[in-house]
Amino acid sequence: MAQATTPETMAAVAADIQAERAALLQRERALAAARRRREKLFEWAVRGGALLVLLIIWEIFGRQVNRALFAPPSAVVAAAAEMLGSGELWQYLQGSLMVLAIGFGITLLIGIPLGFAMARSRTVYYALDWYIDAFNSTPNVALVPLITLIFGFDITAKVIVVVIASLFAVVVNTEQGVRHVDARLLEVARSFRSSERQLWTDVILPSALPYIAAGVRIAVGRALVGMVVAEFFTSVTGIGYLIVRYSNSFQPDHLLVPIVVVMALGILLTAVTRAVEVRIAPWSRQAEDK
């Protein structure tokens, strides 16, 4: 054997390769960070530009329509300043946010465990799946008159509307998430002699987490709809009532303020759920990192 490869030289080669890989990885990460910064800049430039274009079009169009029917953004801003100054907006928004928070809290508290139960127990699944589907596909507005009939006009009725609007998105997504756990990973866990409880904490829960987060994102939107619709029907409080009142009095500039607020709330809450998702499920950032 003249110059055969010895284990030592092979080990050295392997070590070299590893060092090289580590350096490469470091560079990759620096590049990725720079790429992300550029991406952020681009993102906000586009967002700002789109908003500006929207406002300009709205302003031009809004000025040509009868002031009793529609208002341009400049008028809406003035109305908003007035409503903020008088405390009116905050007063009505407060009640709405309370309804939203309670209702959405109940949705999470009931929806996630219910989704798990439906995925893991055939009994629960067969008992409930028709009704889940029924509620999930019925326009919830249909139920609001009935709910006010039973629960009256106070906060209870509104909370129930919010729950009904948002609950089933969470249930259905959680159930799907639990069902879609990778069978191969379940087998890995079994081969390592995982107990049932450990199977849940190590495999099923984390695997379902991105699905649950998606369900929660959908549910946020539906909860907002539920909140506004409930207030249309039921109350003399809340942001929905504000919409109805200014609509009836032909003040579109004031009417548009709560609408924009609800929209902004939708954007904000969706962003928050996304951020929470990244925090609790960093591995699902996969696509962004690459």
Binding site: T5, F192, Q198
Partner: protein, 274 residues
């Protein structure tokens, strides 16, 4: 088939205690109400600290056989024995390395590698001492806090290997562990596995469809035929250890074995693509 007689003279099969470490006894596995026969009337034994490679065409039931050895499924007929005791569920002495790596995407390298220790209730303070040598061995030190998706395929399988070794099993079952890797990475990992097994002797059952891999890693090679799977022949490799891939490849024995095994597999492989 005459597998029994061919199996008998192999020195490794006996093992120190006078019995094979693991044994498959006249096992048949049927799927789908018997419509599919994964393997039929199969006998196989692997001695303590012996490396047994199983080669065969795709779909010959190799993986099913390995899952039976792991205790993940039961043969429809026949038995699997570990130290002469029937295997009915995964054993703590046996651990598996998967072709798909089997890493949990939501766990970091560290959490993946310590997974087996956690399940076994090993106190957290001991993890570092237990895991570090294997992380070093597979070159993963420095990558502990990364998630699997941030690693190359080779590094992911190194983590899979470290996770398996960390529980210090007596038997290592490997299901085409390097099958999903590119040729260069595959060769590096074969080299590493040889080195690791020289430092930590273990009973190894290694499934592959790569003939050269089987020769390089195995003390014996079982050639498996396609459905219904049977062991066609068991061959002693007879290459001295410690082995170096480059050296092994150039021996006449390697060429002979390669030609012989390919002759056995060729009709099977040809039938599979037809």
């Amino acid at each position: 088939m005459t597998t029994e007689t061919r199996l008998a003279p192999s020195p490794g099969a006996a093992g120190a205690a006078g019995h094979p470490k693991m044994r498959v006894e006249r096992a048949t596995k049927l799927f789908g109400d018997g419509a599919v026969i994964a393997f039929e009337n199969l006998d196989l034994a692997v001695g303590a600290n012996e490396s047994l490679c199983i080669v065969g065409p795709s779909g010959c039931g190799k993986t099913t056989l390995l899952r039976c050895l792991a205790g993940l499924i039961q043969p429809t007929v026949g038995r699997v024995l570990l130290d002469e005791r029937p295997v009915t569920q995964p054993s703590p002495q046996v651990v598996m390395v998967f072709q798909h790596f089997g890493l949990f995407p939501w766990k970091t390298v560290w959490e993946n590698v310590t997974y087996g220790l956690k399940l076994r209730g090993v106190p957290k303070q001991q993890w570092e001492a237990r895991v570090r040598p294997y992380l070093d061995l597979v070159g993963l030190t420095g990558f502990e806090q990364m998630y699997p998706y941030q690693l190359s395929g080779g590094m992911q399988q190194r983590a899979g290997l470290a996770r398996a070794l960390a529980v210090e099993p007596e038997v290592l079952l490997m299901d085409e562990p390097f099958g999903a890797l590119d040729a260069q990475t595959r060769e590096l990992l074969q080299e590493e596995l040889l080195r690791i097994l020289e430092q930590h002797r273990k009973t190894l059952v290694f499934i592959t469809h790569a003939i050269d891999e089987a020769i390089l890693l195995g003390d014996r090679i079982a050639i498996m035929t396609a459905r219904p799977g049977r062991i066609r022949e068991v061959i002693d490799v007879g290459l001295p250890r410690p082995r170096q891939i480059e050296v092994c490849r150039q021996t006449e024995r390697f060429a002979q074995l390669h030609a012989h095994i390919w002759q056995q597999l060729r009709p099977e492989a040809a039938a599979a693509v037809r």
